[in-house]
Symmetry: C2
Subunit: 407 residues, 2 copies
């Protein structure tokens, strides 16, 4: 084969449902030199990153760390470590990623019970309580923000509900963390996972996770130390996790004071994850969420100002993504490709029942910025006009600019 | 908390058993801007990276790709996708990582059979054949290079053996690929996995994998497409893989022409993996292995020139790592820490039966270089003298220099 040159990506403004463009300092952090796995600098960086993520998650959980894989690696680690074969798991589904949680729990041989609302809605607390009473699950697995529908499921009352019924409460906050309120401790989460590639403004490939002391107890009871490094007296549960890579008991021993060898921590992704949390906390968690709220409000006003119909229950929309109906007569995928090729701007297509019907436009992480919102709306206006849709001249940018002016 | 500054690792020359320092161009590649998951540039980069790794593995396998996780993620993906619960798996163990393969197969509920040789030895083909005949496994899982003992198990006759007996042949080449001969097709491999952090000269966090058409058939027969994106007529095997993240059937659909959404590919790690393969093929696969052979021979001669005793069967040592007995009276871990703190050079400790008894010194990837070998030997000489060991003046660097002079 002809050997290609160094990687040289085209310039892109990523305004889809994620992945989005990373903060420049996150890209920079990844080119920092590597150190050894047990270098004091490495273990100190792991410890420091744990503390930074306690700030991101709003938790005091000791067990706050990273899983080396994409966001679904974090989901699978949480579920396979907390759920034993035969355990009942309740999954309220309001979009594609609810199906994913159910699917992962099924593969872990749980007895999975689901409830569903139509895409574009969220669950009232009462519906979740009714299902908990009926199913009596070991674990409630609930997506916070599902990009497939743009909905943000309120979680603030769910922890207390789970506690009353003796249910472990896990939430997948991949798409929402950093751009919408998330209070791991105040909301009573037992486990939560995320990814870097959405509001945290980093690349896919590292999954932040936090576990309550109650979740850690469940995990530790199933601990099995692998034969190659097991010492006399070490536990080796019969009821072990069916995965080595995702066995949180072993991963906690690696991140904890014992530093027991498991995988070789992905050093460059650790640097990236650390920088994502660092920029978030430097700006301030609430300030970053507010920046996402304003950018999201501006983008919402902008697409409405262009006369587009917004999909779903806007009152429960995530700050960081909006779904708009593709106007009659506009070829969705062809128009999207033209926007990418000619303007270098990416917006998203959709899955399942919404495929071909809506575009999804994101404003997250580094790209939750006024200039990114304005550029996207201006290009979108030109695009729609070019494909024959009637759009008010300047309607998008004017409406969005009003939001920024009054913010 | 006080928010720390940008990441600023101390300078280190990593001469342990891995992870080691990355090629500068690999670090640089990771700071390239991100693109969207289905950007034509992204999918083209994935395809291009597959072709580059065909060159690295010496294979024409279509199913040559990356698993998003560390090297043990690749191992687990191979094993859980190829092995059904109850299947017999044969694992010849000659070091720690054989135990890891057995452990992962056990977690996958295989019926695991092991054979062992003492640490520091490899298996004769006859011992493996005897066990295959006795056990009649579905899968033979065999480490190529085990850093825990430095041994390099000959694989060249094993594929034909497996084929004769109808056994799938999987090898973990994490520690060896790129620094020692590996011929996926010529040696009849059905599956092989690796990591970037050893001879490939990148960071941990991406695992190259290749699968023969026969292995792909096994994987495809177990395919299950997740509910959120399943379409009428899509398969949904009863005999599904017990992991979503590691289900190679789904991962192949994501890397293949259908581009069916699974995880969000870890873009920066993809860039890194691409660059690792690119620098290897630019230099030439055989030339890189030869560079490792020379560096390894020089380091071996050097430690022997310092009067150190080498552990294990040298005739079967990997090119890229050597284990030396810690001289009587030298406090192994304290001396190692001094070398790191004062000289910025990392060498490795050991696991299990060798812990406290040997150091492991690596020459791999970017660090399989004359200057790195010389610097390490000079520092080692000074270190040993400081801790009271009698060492020949200049004995290490002289012997190593002779190897380079006659190379």
């Amino acid at each position: 084969m002809t050997i290609p040159g160094p990687i040289s990506p085209p310039p892109r403004l990523l305004m889809g449902p994620g992945p989005i463009g990373a903060y420049p300092s996150v890209l920079e952090a990844m080119s920092a030199p590597l150190v050894g796995q047990y270098d004091p600098f490495m273990t100190a960086t792991m410890t420091e990153t744990q503390e930074l993520y306690r700030g991101v998650w709003a938790t005091t959980n000791d067990a706050t760390l990273l899983i080396d894989g994409t966001s679904r690696a974090g989901i699978e680690a949480a579920i396979v470590s907390l759920v034993r074969p035969g355990d009942r798991v309740l999954v309220p589904i309001f979009g594609r990623f609810g199906h994913l949680l159910a699917e992962i729990a099924e593969r872990a041989l749980a007895e999975v019970h689901t409830i569903e609302v139509p895409w574009g809605q969220v669950f009232p607390v009462s519906a979740i309580e009714e299902a908990i009473v009926r199913v009596q699950p070991t674990l409630l697995a609930l997506v916070q923000g599902d990009t497939s529908t743009t909905m943000n499921q309120p979680l603030d009352e769910i922890g207390a509900l789970c506690e009353r019924h003796g249910v472990l409460f896990y939430s997948d906050a991949t798409a929402s963390l950093g751009g919408n309120a998330f209070e791991a401790d105040a909301w009573g989460l037992d486990a939560a996972t995320a990814g870097l590639q959405k509001c945290l403004g980093g690349p896919s490939g590292s999954s932040p996770i936090t576990l309550s002391p109650r979740a850690v107890e469940v995990v530790q009871a199933r601990k099995k130390i692998e034969a190659g490094i097991r010492e006399p007296g070490d536990p080796s549960a019969r009821d072990f996790v069916r995965s080595n890579y995702f066995d949180l008991g072993m991963i906690l021993d690696y991140w904890g004071p014992r530093r027991l060898n498991h995988h070789t921590e992905a050093t460059s992704m650790l640097y990236a994850a650390r920088e994502c949390a660092r920029v978030l906390l430097l700006e301030g968690r609430d300030a970053v969420i507010e920046r996402h709220r304003i950018a999201g409000t501006a983008m919402l006003a902008g697409v409405q100002g262009l006369g587009l119909t917004v999909f779903g229950d806007i009152a429960h929309k995530m700050n960081n993504v909006v779904a708009v109906e593709i106007p009659e007569g506009v070829p969705g995928d062809i128009a999207r490709a033209a926007l990418l090729e000619e303007d270098g701007i990416e917006i998203g297509t959709s899955f399942g029942p919404l495929h071909g019907r809506v575009w999804r436009i994101g404003t997250m992480g580094y790209n939750a910025r006024e200039d990114a919102v304005m550029t996207t709306l201006a290009a979108l206006e030109a695009l729609l006009r070019r494909f024959g849709a009637a759009v008010p001249v300047g309607g998008g940018v004017e409406a969005a600019r009003d939001v920024y002016r009054s913010a």
